[in-house]
Symmetry: C2
Subunit: 222 residues, 2 copies
């Protein structure tokens, strides 16, 4: 049974102080933290299921599952054989660094190499808060449309990697990958765009390759 912890938002002006504490804690225990952000239903948990499978034997993985309520996602992660901590955000629409710190402190960090923070499903608020993570990854799913960078610019600006999920439904939806690339390029000159299907597994190997490279390469700032 996954643990459920209730966290409280920190004072916004002090977020950077808490983010620095998160980074210090991660370095002390030689563990990496990845902040995974997306709209509701874009496929965050499905991606994590595939990622846990793909990294099995190479890295010890835990997942912090942030939700306003419920524990369905944590159960899915534990069914995959990874440690999950279900975080209830007390109504908050995002995770901040203080909340992340509270969640990390419930884990024996020496037991893990890689921790994913599955943020609250939301393209607005999570983009505004540094959680202290080493890498910011977002998912945009095909049914959401290629115009989303125009409407949620901060999220597309701050992310290091954009996973374009549900590409198995590409023929049904009017989604133009080149248009997305153009919309992203206007905001962000370094983000990797990787098309995947967390449902069929297509492209997931490219994501895992990117992730392993980030972990290996200090030049990537990871």
């Amino acid at each position: 049974m996954s643990e459920i912890i209730e966290v409280k938002a920190g004072i916004e002006a002090e977020n950077e102080k808490f983010a620095a504490e998160v980074r210090k804690l991660l370095r002390q225990h030689h563990v990496r933290l990845i902040n995974l952000m997306a709209s509701p239903g874009a496929g965050k948990t499905s991606l994590l299921e595939q990622t846990i499978d793909g990294l099995k034997g190479a890295y010890r993985v835990a997942v912090l599952e942030a939700d306003v309520d419920a524990d369905v996602d944590a159960k899915r992660i534990e069914a995959r054989g990874a440690k999950a901590v279900q975080i209830h955000t007390g109504g908050s629409c995002h995770m901040d660094a203080s909340m992340t710190l509270q969640a990390l402190r419930t884990l024996d960090l020496d037991e893990y190499d890689l921790i994913f923070l599955e943020n609250v499903g939301n393209l607005v608020c999570p983009a505004e808060f540094d959680t202290g993570a080493d890498l910011k990854v977002m998912i945009l799913s095909i049914p959401e449309g290629d115009d989303k960078p125009l409407k949620y610019p901060l999220m597309f600006q701050v992310t290091d990697c954009i996973l374009v999920n549900k590409i198995d439904t590409d023929e049904i939806f009017d989604f133009d990958l080149q248009k997305l690339q153009k919309n992203v390029a206007a905001l962000n000159d370094h983000a990797q765009i990787i098309p995947i299907s967390a449902f069929t597994g297509s492209g997931v190997e490219n994501w895992l390759y990117y992730l392993r490279e980030c972990i290996r390469s200090t030049a990537a700032g990871f």
Copy 2:
């Protein structure tokens, strides 16, 4: 060319005061306001395009388009022949009553019967704020999944109507309408659930029927 107005959030504790002002203004001018909420990419603007077409000749419609940035949605609405006001929320993840009031005051309200507020794409924050609207409608799209009421309970609690959009993609996604109904019933005993496809137009007539009934019937509290 659609107007762009920049609005500022009101003081949260005073939201009810502003909501009362919105209601008073709407009653003075015999106009109805509908707060339309959903995740990014669920199909809010596509629904409004269909709705404007369906109500043509019966009601004079205007749309308040709330976005963190961009004016793509307002342009789509104006191309359909309805008045659009593009609201920039100054980074805010939702519309509050004060912001709604600022937007309504840019319109000559005697020119309209029905005004839609297309809220910021977000299942968390918009649910927390009474905008003074007469009716709250949300869209959940099939690709998002039937478990969303478990994870975003407040939105499903406060809404009067749930439009289940993109039903033309029902066979591709693992979405169980009965499971959704069960998840909703645990939170909300009055919300209408109406399956539609804003893309094919399927079910839109049921939505328009519901809307016309709400407008006609004072018993529905509208």
